[in-house]
């Protein structure tokens, strides 16, 4: 959490190298300034050189907000570290600021003595006015106390590109590469791999633009190297990264790959029915580009058709998938009930965002948990699991399909706008090491009853087209065995209880709880979903500070692990931080009959480690 700066011996260049364990950097600018690209390229370069990191993009929901305005500010944060980094960091140690609006909206988040590298060229009267600055903060002393570097990034980029024949406007758009070059140099990275990537990215289609960006990148790198401005460059010690092949992965990418993996491992094609919605749409984008696998994507006319087409496909004997976010989840509710009645495998992925209603489309929240567990008419149990981090989305998606096919049930996987768009390095798994995903279709008509069940209470999956097994299914209550319509009172009771018992029975596949830290003590912090990183980090720091605090992360939210109640009781206090007003806390109170302390945050931003740390210390003191 804290960046420890150790001044090291100055190397040959006569400049000091600051050794740091961990650093939080934020890139902020106008949404047209390319901050997301700059941040991603920067992280990729650092990942290549063996660093752990987690990134967090924070962009406005407007596609192209008016330039220079406060609501058009786009940010990208990265935490780099020499040991496992679990979050994108609390407060920036360093901020690259491209215009006054970005300074105004982000300065409050920065550490007290943070380093600010500011594009002074953008601090024109017009931009200052748009940001609501009465006087220029770069001149009026209001930034005293920060390490302020005023660099005319716009002007220097324009000068570097003076002879390229680019218009002023075009040259202006290359300034993010100047900034990237500068940042790479400050963190001791050579520009070469980025140059190679620019060539691959723009080279063929827009060679002139590629060259201009390369010139800007080199100019920025050279500027940081040559200028006397920077007293120190920064060296983040390389991590103890396990050997292997790594890539950067976002939660949505990992989710899409997990779904493809489920199809490849089972040998059953995948069908995605989906309607575009932020922040889930990237999964549809990713899978739409993978039709050379056994993948069909269907951009439906609405959320309802998204899930219904997936139900139709699953009925047809393929892996049915639908992806959405909160408001879309609400629309899919009736069809979820149908899938429960049909008892067919189906995976529903809800990439949660701020709610209710349209809420905060691009911001993170975890407030759809109770909707996932309970939000349907009738007694309508559905297993719910949640991903903890971008890379964990891969395993979680795979597990969702394992449960769905083994138990013949819809499964809800919860992700969130934070982990969906956040990125981290991922050690690429060896496909041969992934557990098999066996799927059986019944083809023997002898003695077949559509609702007869196996030892897991799952009915058989029968593909239409199988001779001698023609049968009808539907949303009306059905006979316990034949599946024919039944309004018999005792039969309904039996069916309701059986569906509940089937989902409850998944508990036998859930591994016992394994809290990190002491097996009993003052405090247990329970996390689910995307709060994993901040809580894991906080627990480490709490233990380091001498507190008897453990951390338990829950992937399975319905059913909950069988030994959960026992584990919770081993601690004096249980703290449940959530990006909602206490939804898991309610579930724990209800299902484990134990009181817990809820810490709710609904600000569209993930928890800071310090927020959890502070609340935990208070509770330990009791």
């Amino acid at each position: 959490m804290t960046s420890e700066v150790h001044a090291a011996e100055a190397p040959s260049a006569g400049r000091s190298i600051a050794e740091i364990e961990r650093v939080v950097i934020r890139f902020v600018g106008d949404s047209g300034d390319g901050m997301q690209l700059t941040g991603s390229e920067f992280s990729r370069a650092l990942g290549r050189s063996g660093h752990f990191f987690v990134t967090h993009p924070d962009y406005p929901s407007e596609i192209s907000a008016p330039t220079g305005t406060l609501f058009g500010v786009s940010g990208f944060q990265i935490q780099l570290g020499s040991d496992a980094v679990l979050t994108s960091g609390d407060a920036p140690d360093m901020m690259l600021v491209m215009n006054p609006a970005a300074l105004k909206t982000n300065l409050g988040d920065a550490k007290r003595h943070a380093t600010l590298i500011v594009n002074s060229g953008a601090f024109t009267q017009g931009n200052l006015d748009k940001a609501g600055y009465v006087s220029n903060p770069l001149e009026d002393g209001s930034l005293d106390g920060y390490h302020l570097y005023k660099i005319d990034i716009s002007g220097l980029t324009a000068a570097a590109l003076a002879n390229t024949g680019l218009s002023g406007r075009e040259a202006e758009r290359c300034k993010n590469y100047f900034a990237l070059g500068l940042m790479l140099c400050l963190y001791e990275q050579s520009p070469e791999t980025v140059i190679a990537e620019i060539r691959t990215k723009f080279g063929r289609k827009k060679p002139q633009l590629a060259e201009a960006n390369i010139i800007a990148l080199k100019a920025g790198h050279g500027y940081a190297e040559a200028s006397e401005l920077f007293v120190s460059h920064y060296h983040v010690r390389k991590s103890q990264v396990a050997p292997g092949k790594y890539r950067i992965v976002t939660g949505n990418q990992a989710t899409a790959m997990g779904c493809v993996a489920a199809s490849e491992l089972s040998g059953v094609p995948l069908f995605l029915g989906s309607y575009p919605i932020t922040p889930a749409t990237d999964i549809l984008h990713e899978l739409s580009g993978l039709k050379h696998f056994a993948v069909t994507t269907f951009q439906a006319e609405d959320e309802i058709a998204g899930i219904c087409s997936a139900i139709g496909a699953a009925y047809g004997g393929v892996l049915g998938l639908t992806t959405t976010s909160g408001p879309g989840m609400a629309l899919k509710t009736e069809a979820l009930g149908l899938a429960v009645m049909l008892e067919i495998p189906l995976v529903i992925i809800n990439v949660q965002r701020g709610g209710p209603s349209t809420g905060l489309p691009t911001k993170v929240e975890q407030s759809d948990l109770l909707q996932a567990v309970y939000g349907r008419n009738g007694e309508c149990p559905i297993p719910v699991i949640a991903a903890a981090s971008p890379a964990d989305c891969f395993d979680t998606a795979l597990e969702a399909f394992r449960i769905a096919t083994k138990y013949m049930t819809p499964v809800i996987m919860l992700s969130d706008g934070g982990i969906a768009n956040a990125a981290e390095p991922w050690r690429i798994p060896d496909v041969a090491s992934l557990a098999p995903l066996p799927v059986k279709f019944r083809t023997d008509p002898e003695g077949y009853q559509p609702y007869a069940r196996d030892e897991h209470l799952a009915r058989a999956w029968v593909r239409p087209g199988t001779p001698g097994m023609e049968h009808r299914v539907g949303g009306l209550e059905k006979d316990f065995l034949t599946g024919n319509i039944s309004h018999v009172p005792a039969n309904h009771q039996r069916m309701v209880e059986t569906r509940a018992a089937k989902v409850a029975g998944i508990v036998k596949d859930i591994p016992p709880c394994q809290p990190q830290g002491p097996a009993s003590g003052d405090l247990l912090i329970v996390s689910w979903g995307g709060t994993y990183g901040a809580i894991a980090q906080a627990q480490e720091e709490l233990v380091a500070a001498g507190h008897a605090v453990a951390h338990l992360h829950l992937r399975h939210l319905n059913p909950l692990p069988a030994d959960l109640g026992d584990v919770l009781r081993r601690y004096k206090t249980v703290l449940v931080p959530e990006m909602n007003l206490g939804q898991l806390a309610r579930l724990l109170r209800e299902q484990c009959l134990i009181d817990v302390v809820s810490l709710g945050k609904v600000q569209g931003k993930p928890f800071k480690v310090s927020e959890i740390f502070a609340r935990a210390v208070e509770l330990c003191g009791k």
Binding site: T296, I311, R472, G474
Partner: protein, 339 residues
């Protein structure tokens, strides 16, 4: 000893399930059930390759009575479910049986997009201009002025023409039949079954209980020929007991003219295959009593079926890039090696 395997041709009986049919006695839905049970054994498709998908409403009970695969789903969503099924399993013959409320009110969006995509679904809409299962409320096809439980002072909302909606959404096969006209229903259903792409058949049908007589002008033997315009491809538009009336165009408007039988010059000649849907649309808009109601095939054009396009695109990209390899996919996106 070798057991000899006797392959019996399928019959109507093979398509009847063991479930009691629970429509009201005399309901027109029985006619469709009987016609489809007669038709399906003749199509050369194995019984197990038929799937019937329905939504909610009287008509949507249909799948329970067919000894095929079937799903009685949720209100209005059958076209979406059927689209997913057909895309996943193009070899199946997928039928949707729906009603005026199911297809045109709650399911209107799925209905029009099914028409747009032209996925090979056979959609049969039983239009009785009323909600039956909920016991008599106005539907999107209820005529203006009709008194129902929700319109006790008379319906104010203008009705849809189901065929017009389908044509407006780009349907490649649109037909309309009167429910009591069994020969025409048999012929039209057969053509729908053979059509690649979405085939839409509207069945005009009586509801004895809640909307009795709504199509009487089209069913009453004494007057029906005055009110039905039976469409035949390549033939002039002639109707009437004595076949003494025809339709011609006056500017952009149709008008009825008296003709001497056999003297059909100047009349509109029906063209099912016209690429432009204008003629079919105009015919779908003719309303009794001002005009005869057009029945038969309004439109039948060739267009690639949606599921074929999906399959072709996947095949093309697979040929270009090779069958996807999971390990390569996981390692895409500029990976690096840590020693």
């Amino acid at each position: 000893m070798n057991a000899s395997i006797e392959i019996k041709p399928l019959t109507k009986k093979d398509f009847a399930s063991d479930q009691d049919v629970r429509w009201c006695p005399g309901c027109g839905d029985y006619v469709l059930l009987s016609q489809l049970q007669k038709l399906l054994p003749t199509l050369g498709v194995p019984r197990e390759n038929f799937a019937f998908i329905s939504g909610i409403g009287c008509s949507s009970r249909f799948p329970y009575y067919m000894e095929t695969y079937g799903m009685h789903s949720i209100h209005g969503r059958a076209p979406a479910i059927a689209s997913g099924l057909k895309l996943a399993r193009p070899e199946l013959s997928v039928w949707v049986v729906t009603g005026d409320g199911d297809a045109l009110a709650i399911g209107g969006n799925h209905f029009i997009h099914a028409m747009r995509r032209n996925i090979g679904l056979k959609i049969v809409l039983l239009n009785n201009r009323i909600y039956g299962l909920t016991k008599g409320q106005a539907s999107p096809t209820t005529e203006i002025g009709t008194k129902t439980k929700t319109t006790p002072l008379g319906n104010l909302d203008r009705p849809f023409s189901a065929a017009s909606v389908a044509l407006g959404a780009g349907a490649t096969f649109v037909a309309r039949v009167v429910g009591s006209d069994q020969p025409m229903m048999a012929a039209v259903l057969r053509r729908a079954a053979m059509h690649p792409g979405t085939a839409f058949v509207e069945v005009l049908q009586n509801c004895l209980i809640f909307n009795d007589g709504t199509f009487e002008p089209l069913t009453d033997r004494s007057v029906r020929d005055e009110h039905r315009l039976v469409l035949e491809h390549g033939k002039p538009l002639v109707f009437g007991n004595q076949r003494d009336k025809g339709l011609r165009l006056k500017g952009m408007e149709p008008e009825i003219v008296s003709i001497t039988p056999g003297q059909e010059k100047g009349l509109i000649v029906h063209d099912e295959h016209a690429r432009n849907a204008g003629l079919a649309f105009m015919l779908s808009q003719l309303e009794t009593p001002a005009f005869p109601t057009a029945v038969g095939v309004l439109r039948d054009i060739e267009a690639p079926a949606g599921e074929a396009l999906y399959a072709e695109q996947a095949a093309d990209i697979t040929e270009l890039r090779g069958r996807g390899n999971l390990q390569k996919l996981l390692a895409s996106g500029n990976p690096w090696i840590i020693e």
